[in-house]
């Protein structure tokens, strides 16, 4: 079944998609990634069940994605007090393992950034404990997979075909008049396959999950700055794939830039100076972020 999905995918690849093929690596076929997800780790046979029901780290700890490290620590300790094998007995072992893994990832800055990107929350870090989230709009059902569904709302004609075939995955945004992914893999594979196939304008794409958050963020209409009555309103990039590529490149450059900045400013400073610096850098970052948006507007507006 999964094999038959592949050619359809290629056929349904729209123009925009073919140009920016970097978002979709044809070699990572659907069948292959599915194999990867379901591979039994040789040592984990008995725990296959628990791996399947693996929760998002944030859900596991019961904290929101933008929680501070302090919050995460508190939540972790509270849960450990309930489930640690010292208290819960040997049955707490698996749970404590997951807690430790989640804690380790979320408490290590770069691991957390990577993890957030992988689950669809692009975070831009500001200061030590502040995270600004570029949130993807769709949630995930079941384990994370390397590929996700994305509806190019610019192309969508609002025909409801996909909603009809896979109602748990797609919804129709009545105000915008176009379809959107509500839950990744909300229906079984066959239903999703049919719904992708049924789209008359081929606007449903398989994209890498790393790109998903950015795409979903950019496809949301943003308030356009107007001059008096003119030019005001909502807009979004005409070519969302290109826009995502540009934005991610700029974010990466910015991150590198910040990194090199951090290295040079390791001299000692007073708390007041530190505060001032933190405030200033926060401001700069906010500005540069809005600049990115503005420049995107210029390119695609």
């Amino acid at each position: 079944m999964s094999v038959s999905l592949l050619p359809i995918d290629h056929l349904s690849m729209p123009k925009a998609f073919q140009i920016h093929a970097s978002y979709f690596n044809p070699s990572t076929t659907i069948s292959r990634c599915r194999h990867k997800c379901s591979r039994v780790r040789c040592c984990d046979r008995r725990r296959e069940g628990s791996a399947r029901t693996k929760k998002n780290y944030y859900e596991l700890l019961g904290v929101s994605v933008d929680s501070s490290t302090q919050k995460i620590k508190e939540a972790y300790r509270k849960l450990q007090k309930q489930y640690h094998p010292d208290i819960a007995g040997h049955k707490g072992h698996e749970y404590a393992l997951m807690l430790n893994e989640a804690y380790n990832v979320l408490m290590t800055d770069d691991l957390r950034t990577k993890y957030d990107a992988s689950i669809g929350h692009m975070t831009v870090q500001i200061g030590k404990n502040n995270y600004v989230n570029v949130m993807g709009s769709s949630s995930w059902k079941g384990p994370l997979r390397p590929q996700a569904l994305f509806v190019d709302e610019n192309a969508c004609i609002g025909c409801r075909e996909c909603v009809h075939h896979a109602s748990n995955t797609f919804i129709l945004d009545e105000s915008m008049g176009c379809a959107r992914v509500k839950t990744q893999y909300g229906d079984d594979d066959q239903k999703i396959e049919v719904s992708v196939e049924s789209c008359p304008v081929n606007c449903i794409h398989w994209v890498d999950k790393e790109e998903l958050a950015l795409l979903e963020f950019l496809i949301q209409p943003q308030l356009k700055q107007g001059y008096g009555l003119f030019g005001q309103g909502w807009e979004r990039p005409a070519n969302v794939f290109m826009a995502a590529k540009t934005l991610s490149k700029q974010l990466r450059q910015q991150a590198e830039h910040n990194h090199s900045n951090v290295r040079t400013t390791v001299e000692e400073e007073t708390p007041a100076q530190a505060e001032a610096r933190a405030n200033a850098s926060l401001k700069i970052k906010m500005e540069s972020f809005s600049k990115i948006w503005d420049s995107l507007n210029e390119i695609f507006g």
Partner: protein, 572 residues
């Protein structure tokens, strides 16, 4: 007494399975077996209580004397004089000897003790014997420890009026897993079941967590996080831990430890007082042992006095024609033991670095153990931690056993209506575990200071074309080369499908549970398939037995590099 002193309740290496049985109706007692002194504590329903022996001692000397028909230990035995321990009939310092092979420098240092420690330097268990009516009677550190534990158990049973089975024991951080099995073996010989083996500073950390929680309850304040550094130095071992504590949860951030302690300081001082002492006592004649005993007692006394005085007069007649009359100043003492202090400093620095806690963020610095009275040790700790004051509300000699008793109550499922047992220790691994790969390298799979329980896996591959078998050598330690680490066990993976080198994926997974039991899983997966090619292996470590110093060499001689593995770099 016709009955044997101890019975072997379980001789199996793997006592771990029964550990998992959940309901422990009785409160486990906490035992701190020190190199020089032992103590027992128990949660009595409202607080931790230290048990006293019939002579009203809370701290009992750790030794077993074989002088009489039946061996007797420091719990029940009435000493006429300190010299009795040093007569050759008593074995002590068993904590420094247990689970060590005769190539170990710590065993070599123990040759200067008044009983017999014989080494052949080939990696087997050293020969240990006590002098009984002018004959060397052989024994083992495990046996000595077991006899001692039987006495402790009997004492506790009389006082608590119930049979004792479950115990929480404190152990040094630097103990290898093989040494832990020896401790478990000794407990099994004494009819005790080890609920937890707790690194000493983490037991102190738990006591600290309880104290902090109580002060929070009293002040009705919010339980903010407190970082504490615990430095524990006794007669045999030095341990450091950094813990983050909040709301009764003690989270161990980093551990470090080494086999240095008061015994080394004592030996250095003896060497300083009598420069040729090393050679003098190696023959272990009755007169030499007597002289050695006299010197030891005099030196010990001098060291104790140097903690409060700046210089002491040592006057001792060794009765072999030589007399020592010397004034020792504190400066001399510090110079003689410079290496010991340096080692302490490096342990402290390493532990702080590993914990990723800034010195400024340390709320408290806790100093415990017998050596905590030495002024220079206090200075070293204060200096490294940049703290003027040390944590005061803790008894340096009783902290570890109190922590063990708390852990015993928590792990036994006892709860306290006043929340005094609303505690938890989240332990970290003191040493890394991994396998041999990439030639002679040690590839850690679970690095040190990983939060327990822990599970990690790594993928390896074959080094030869059509290699059908692979040897998994499990090591524990910190060295980059396997020789620098402890061998824990070995097994062979069979049924690797014939393929060019680098193709089969050998997945090695390690799992450490909360009671510190290590299991290693290994199996072969071919790229493109879902299922392991052959049934995977599950091995409980350690599997090595006494004489394991030989194993690595023998394996190398028999197999060479034919069954080697290399690591697979993660594809990004």
């Amino acid at each position: 007494m016709a009955e044997p002193q101890y019975t072997v309740a379980s001789d199996s290496e793997t006592t771990g399975e029964e550990k998992s049985s959940s309901a422990f109706p009785e409160t486990a007692i906490g035992i701190d077996i020190g190199t020089s002194k032992c103590s027992v504590a128990v949660w009595n329903g409202s607080q931790v209580e230290l048990l006293k022996n019939t002579r009203n001692q809370k701290l009992m000397r750790s030794y077993v004397t074989f002088k009489d028909e039946v061996p007797s230990g420091g719990v029940s035995n009435q000493l006429s004089h300190e010299y009795e321990i040093l007569s050759g009939a008593a074995i002590f310092n068993m904590k420094r000897l247990i689970g060590r092979v005769d190539t170990d420098p710590v065993v070599h240092a123990s040759k200067r003790l008044p009983f017999l420690v014989q080494t052949l330097d080939i990696g087997v268990r050293p020969f240990i014997a006590a002098l009984v009516s002018n004959a060397w009677r052989s024994t083992t550190p495990e046996e000595v420890l077991a006899i001692f534990l039987v006495e402790l158990r009997a004492m506790a049973e009389v006082q608590l009026k119930r049979p004792i089975r479950n115990v929480v024991l404190t152990i040094p951080v630097s103990f290898s897993r093989f040494q832990l099995t020896r401790i478990e073996r000794a407990c099994a010989m004494a009819g005790l079941h080890v609920l937890r083996l707790m690194p000493e500073p983490t037991a102190v950390a738990l006591l600290y967590a309880q104290q902090q929680q109580q002060t929070v309850h009293e002040n009705m304040g919010s339980g903010s996080e407190k970082n504490a550094l615990i430095f524990n130095m006794g007669a045999g071992y030095c341990d450091v831990a950094v813990t983050a504590t909040a709301g009764g949860v003690s989270q161990i951030k980093a551990l470090a430890g080494a086999a240095i302690g008061g015994e080394d300081i004592l030996q250095n001082m003896m060497q300083h007082l009598l420069p040729n002492s090393e050679n003098l006592f190696l023959s272990h004649g009755i007169n030499e042992i007597k002289s050695l005993g006299l010197l030891r007692v005099a030196t010990e006394d001098a060291i104790h006095r140097l903690s409060s005085q700046s210089s002491v007069q040592v006057d001792v007649d060794l009765r072999n024609g030589s007399k020592i009359c010397k004034v020792v100043t504190r400066e001399e003492f510090e110079e003689v033991n410079l290496k010991v202090f340096e080692k302490c400093e490096s342990l402290l620095t390493r532990c702080l670095r590993d914990s990723k806690v800034d010195r400024e963020d340390l709320t408290d610095v806790i100093l415990v153990g017998g050596c905590s009275y030495i002024p220079n040790i206090r200075n070293v700790v204060k200096g490294v931690c940049k703290k003027e004051e040390l944590y005061k509300v803790i008894n340096p000699l009783e902290a570890a056993v109190c922590g063990a008793a708390l852990e015993g109550a928590v792990a036994s499922g006892i709860s306290d209506p006043f929340g005094s047992l609303d505690l938890l220790t989240i332990q970290a691994t003191p040493l890394g575990v991994g396998i041999r790969a990439d030639g002679n390298s040690f590839v850690p799979i679970i690095p040190r200071n990983t939060t327990m329980p822990a599970r990690k896996e790594l993928i390896f591959t074959t080094t030869h074309d059509n290699q059908t078998e692979a040897l998994i050598l499990v090591y524990e330690g910190e060295g980059t080369k396997v020789e620098e680490n402890h061998l824990l066990g070995y097994f062979k993976i069979m049924g690797i499908p014939a393929a060019p080198k680098g193709i089969p994926e050998i997945n090695v997974c390690m799992d450490i549970d909360a009671s510190n039991a290590l299991r290693v899983f290994a199996g072969v997966v071919m790229p493109g398939t879902d299922q392991p090619m052959a049934p995977f292996m599950e091995v409980r470590m350690p599997t090595v037995d006494d004489g394991h110093g030989w194993c690595a060499e023998a394996l190398n001689r028999t197999y060479g590099s034919t069954l080697d593995l290399v690591t697979v770099q993660k594809k990004m």
